[in-house]
């Protein structure tokens, strides 16, 4: 009985994951677009920063500083997109097909999250590789593997948040609001583009209450070997955030309505 229930739960999660993968595979332009943006940031922003700014010690700005931040940004964008895509499923009707199925909605949400986080990790990984190809050095292979783990955990957190938000929004107009008022501030207040050690106090509060900050810091620690926030704290925060958000997302999705 327990085994059958577990089996069914796994089937549900796998089915939803499979759908996300099929869709992802078919939207190659989306994949290219989502990698292109961070790469342009890395190349152009990196070139601009290193020609104008220097670090406190007087050495020129190191472009590799941007890499973890841009990976974090890509993971955030595609995780949020993955969660918020429920709005599209609602708009185009497919949500009804899922909600009428005799399966637990919590596992449906979980499957959607696992699918979304897979696409987020693929994109993060591609940026990681491209950055390496253009000359950014990572400290160790173990560090890279740990960074992939960080992508997964923080991706789950943001996708849970995306699902929770999308379950409450019933129009695609709301999507732009989410992107402008949630995603952009999260990126800009995360230390993806600048060091967080010497910020004004009001901004410090915002930066330190932003879960993405801890994700980016953990990536920076594992890829470059330096971080401002202790790695144990970063990891603790992203894990707690992931569990809290997937719980919230799952619960909110269970109560979502279609008309």
């Amino acid at each position: 009985m327990v085994k059958a229930t577990l089996n069914r739960a796994f089937q549900t999660v796998y089915t939803m994951w499979l759908r996300e993968m099929l869709r992802f595979w078919r939207s190659k332009s989306r994949i290219i677009g989502s990698i292109a943006t961070p790469i342009f940031f890395l190349i152009f922003l990196g070139a601009g920063f290193s020609s104008s700014f220097q670090t406190e010690s007087g050495s020129p700005f190191d472009v590799s500083y941007l890499a973890p931040g841009l990976i974090g940004m890509a993971v955030l964008f595609s995780s949020m997109m993955g969660g918020v895509s429920i709005i599209w499923d609602r708009e185009f009707g497919f949500l009804k097909e899922i909600l009428i199925a005799p399966v637990s909605r919590f596992y449906v949400a979980l499957g959607k999250a696992v699918g979304g986080v897979t696409t987020a990790m693929i994109q993060g990984l591609l940026i990681l590789i491209i950055a390496w190809l253009i000359g950014i050095k990572y400290i160790s292979i173990i560090g890279v593997i740990a960074a992939i783990g960080v992508m997964f955990v923080s991706g789950i957190g943001f996708i849970g948040l995306g699902i929770a938000v999308a379950s409450k929004i019933d129009s695609h107009e709301g999507f732009q609001m989410v992107m402008s008022f949630l995603t952009m501030p999260l990126v800009l207040l995360s230390g993806a583009f600048f060091p967080i050690s010497k910020l004004p106090a009001w901004m410090n509060v915002l930066v330190y209450s932003n879960p993405l900050t801890y994700g980016v810091e953990a990536l920076r620690y594992f890829l470059l070997g330096k971080s401002v926030i202790p790695i144990s704290l970063s990891i603790a925060v992203i894990i707690v955030f992931a569990f809290a958000m997937i719980g919230l997302g799952g619960k909110t999705f269970e109560n979502t309505k279609v008309t």
Binding site: R8, Q11, T12, Y14, T15, L18, R19, L22, R23, R26, S27, W88, D89, E91, F92, G93, F94, L95, K96, E97, I98, L99, I100, A101, P102, V103, V258
Partner: protein
Amino acid sequence: MLHAIETMEITKKFESITAVNNVSISVKPGELFGLLGPNGAGKTTLISMLSTMIEPTEGRATVWGFDVEREAPRVRESIGIVFQDTTLDDRLTGRESLDLHGRLYGLDTKTRKMRIQDVLSLVELSDRADALVKTYSGGMMRRLEIARGLMHHPRVLFLDEPTLGLDPQTRLHIWEYIKTLNKAEGVTIVLTTHYMEEADHLCDRIAIIDHGEIVALDTPEALKDMLGGDVIILELEKPEDKSRLCEIYKKNGTAKIVSEKNGEIFITVKNGEHQIPHILYLASNAGVSILAVSLRKPTLDDVFLHHTGRAIRDRAATEVEQVGYKIRARRK
């Protein structure tokens, strides 16, 4: 089991509007049951309650013996549903749509493969199965949705306006599929429609619904018979003869209901085509000359008119708006 579906004084209120009011119906296993009514009559709301998408405000309902509120998961396993608006993911192929559906309903790999072939050939989509849904026409999408609704061998299949917005030829095709699967697969079907021809052509029994209430329920034939039979219309050469002729028919006992309007005589009789010779004979005996005779079989629209004082057609304009919405929804 006695009933495939049974509702007991089921009611749904949306704030101040009562969409479904005290509806008690029962559908037999294997039956093809129709809910006929104009747009906004409450058909979709009733189906939504039966398919556990929304909860009734009052009353109870069971589907295949399971209570729609307390045993919702069991109800969901027992039903298939084709919604009014498309619920397909257009970035998947037809085969993938069916496969994912089969997985969600817990079918194993072998069963899924076989079943996909069966349902695809039933709706004649086998050759387009591996094309993306977004390349399908409206009729093909509807057929794929019917196939998907059947994937998991549901006991009861709900079809909400299955031919809305489709061209007449596709409509005839869909009718064929619906008849076939009702007979061949033995699945109980409940369909909603505001096309009286559709209800008349397909359904074993029809519930006519208006303003959330059932106004009549019977077989299409019985519903039409209730009106007293066919109507024979006589056009006279000399309108002044009409009252004399009416008297003759009434006295003679040929027909119970005789009326006149705009110089024409309307005679309601059973078996109209057999009565015409006799009626003409009586007229010529009386020396009344008749210009034209026509026979009209009653339609479900007449039945609807009889019960509600309005024609279903009066409300048909809104259908154009709905189709417009569907087209917009497809453009992503």
